[in-house]
Amino acid sequence: MLAAISQNGAVMTLAVSMVQALNAALRDALRADDSVVVFGEDVGALGGVFRVTDGLTDEFGEDRCFDTPLAESGIVGFAAGMAMQGFRPVVEMQFDAFAYPAFEQIASHVAKMRNRTRGTVTMPMVIRIPYGGGIGGVEHHSDSSESHYAHIPGLKVATPATVDDAYSLLREAIDDPDPVVFMEPKGLYWAKAETELPARTAPFGHAATRRAGDDVTLVAYGPAVKVALEAAEAASEEGVEAEVIDLRTLAPYDDVTVAKSVSNTGRCVVISEATGFAGIAGELAARVQQECFYSLAAPVLRVTGFDIPYPPPMHEHHYLPSVDRVLDTINQLEWD
């Protein structure tokens, strides 16, 4: 739909934004499976505050894409009940920090239902959460809450960094028999790529090598992938070739791709926008040192958000992992 057919019948690729790719994924999922329903706050006539659900109510009707009362716990709890009747709800949380009221439903029911009922009651649902900063948002609009969800057994956590992945991972999330928290990096919502939809990329649990390099491995996900790639280009000018790995899904986590790369490079920097303490980046660092200990030439380092509440817009550029901070960190990796 987003790829135009030219007059001579050839498919032309067009520049597609991540928002458009997500919208196309929802549209195609709604078309493919009657049990898929989309709901949340302002997802109907408005099309969502980020327009990810734009036009879905028009095309599929109020039954398939609808606004709910303004209550996040209610939205997720209601979806859990619908899932018990065979629906595949895809619910939208308006912003990262506004998903917290739903945390109890997610942690105590959505994640655990399958386990507590020995697999008889399943929760094939997707909770979409726009997350992360760099968009000049005032407080409560820029949290990186992915670690909270990745810490909960029974959930899958996916986060695209490319337009193709946005489409493909969301389609896979909707088809998944288990609940998926789908973290959408707000900072990349409007990033465009020349592509043709429907795109299909590697399945969950497979990290992608976005750039090859032999000197250092940069492990990133979501919004940090862009930073990692830019840092890798800058490092290259100084003669250091960085391999950039995009995790794509935090749960399941791809130990193999990361370990293989670090075993080759011997150096590793983990980059994440989230607060560093007790977060995903720490988990990744621990796993890398455990699996690659004898290949490591330097300690595994992290570039993360500081251990402070997400700062106001005029400060956020100091908080977010930047190319400079990544380069400084690469420089600390015991090169001589």
């Binding site: 209550a71 209601f78 018990m84 009651v121 288990d178």
Partner: protein, 372 residues
């Protein structure tokens, strides 16, 4: 200045409000009440009351046995529903086969009343698994412990079933304390806005562990919480199973016939402590409990049915005998140590275990093989 507010439709408002006093059909002495107390509800047929009597006796015997098993260390914990038999049994008997029940930890009696095997029903409290029965087969959600969090599930399931064209109704039990939780309110609101066929039944047993009702609400009665959501509400003497049956049958009809959700408050009392691990003497006086003993749901119905010639001494004896046999069977089966496999901890987390989960499973498997 004239405000652009729609004029209140008095009938709509009064139509939502509960009866002034809890609906009661049979009083504490086993006597039929007068029209005033009945709130327009009819006495259920004698046959149905006889069935309710039998099930309440069985339910209480189950409850007593579970308490005894807990003392013997066979259950990790047991929250008794002694004194709440009319709600447990009335709620279940008002349901049809296609309906769904959403119980809490307190409502194990309702599970066995609905036909769940007693040992399976005690799975959560014995602790061999989180939910011992198959919810899809029984049409009973797993017993819910995080207060009120099952209420939105009941609304969602009821709404979804209706969309699928089924005439399923969901009944969710909730405690008086649970009505203070946000999820209770979100569930009521969702159910009302989406016209979900769900009946929320508050078992107001006057305590949330140690905290009395007066700390949960300043409302005239918990049944008044429905009106703010546009939900028709009712209150009932929760120790009068005839009234519970009449009110809930009507509420379920209301929901099934497309009129949306209903809220019913059943006034009852928690005779036992919160659980076996609780000491009620620290927060309530035995004299208070004593007031509720004569209001017992079973003796009241027994008196009524006997007086009406619908229950003989012989009938009573036979019901008691089958309750004893039921308890004996439960005791025997609960005295067998359940077989638990530590590997199972890893098997239901996800449809396909991750490589990391597989490794952890093997570790535990190896350790338990070493240990055994």
């Amino acid at each position: 200045m004239e405000l652009p507010v729609e004029h209140l439709d008095e009938n709509r408002v009064t139509g939502l409000l509960p009866s002034r006093d809890p609906v009661r059909l049979i009083d504490e002495n086993g006597t039929l009440t007068d029209d005033d107390a009945r709130g327009g509800y009819q006495l259920p047929p004698a046959e149905m009351l006889g069935d309710a009597y039998r099930r309440m006796v069985m339910g209480r015997r189950f409850d007593t046995e579970a308490t005894a098993l807990t003392r013997q260390g066979r259950l990790a914990v047991y929250p008794s529903s002694r004194g709440q038999e009319a709600c447990q049994v009335g709620g279940v008997l008002a349901l049809q086969q296609q309906d769904w029940l959403f119980p809490t930890y307190r409502d194990t009696m309702s599970l066995v009343t609905r036909g769940v095997d007693a040992v399976e029903a005690l799975g959560l409290l014995r602790g061999d698994w989180h939910c011992g029965y198959d919810p899809m087969r029984e049409r009973i959600a797993p017993q819910c412990t995080p207060l009120a969090t099952h209420a939105p599930h009941a609304a969602g399931l009821a709404y979804a079933a209706r969309r699928r064209g089924d005439d399923t109704v969901a009944l969710a039990f909730i405690g008086d304390g649970g009505t203070s939780e946000g999820d209770f309110h979100e569930a009521l609101n969702f159910a009302a806005v989406f016209g979900a066929p769900v009946v929320f039944v508050i078992q107001n047993n006057r305590y949330a562990i140690s905290v009395p009702l007066s700390r949960q609400t300043a409302a005239p009665s918990l049944a008044y919480k429905g009106i703010g959501y546009g939900i028709r509400s009712e209150q009932v003497d929760g120790n009068d199973v005839a009234a519970v049956l009449a009110v809930l049958t009507d509420a379920i009809d209301h929901a099934r016939s497309g009129h949306g959700p209903m809220l019913v408050e059943a006034h009852t009392y928690r005779i036992e402590a919160h659980t076996n691990a609780d000491d009620a003497g620290r927060y309530r006086d035995a004299s208070e409990t004593a007031v509720w003993i004569p209001r017992d749901p079973i003796s009241r119905l027994e008196r009524y049915l006997s007086g009406a010639g619908a229950l003989s001494e012989e009938d009573i004896r036979r019901v008691q005998e089958s309750a004893e046999a039921y308890a004996e069977d439960l005791r025997a089966r609960m005295n067998v140590d359940p077989v638990v496999r530590p590997e199972e901890m890893f098997e239901h987390v996800l449809t396909e275990p991750t490589p990391q989960l597989r490794r952890q499973r093997e570790t535990v498997s190896g350790l338990s093989a070493d240990g055994g």
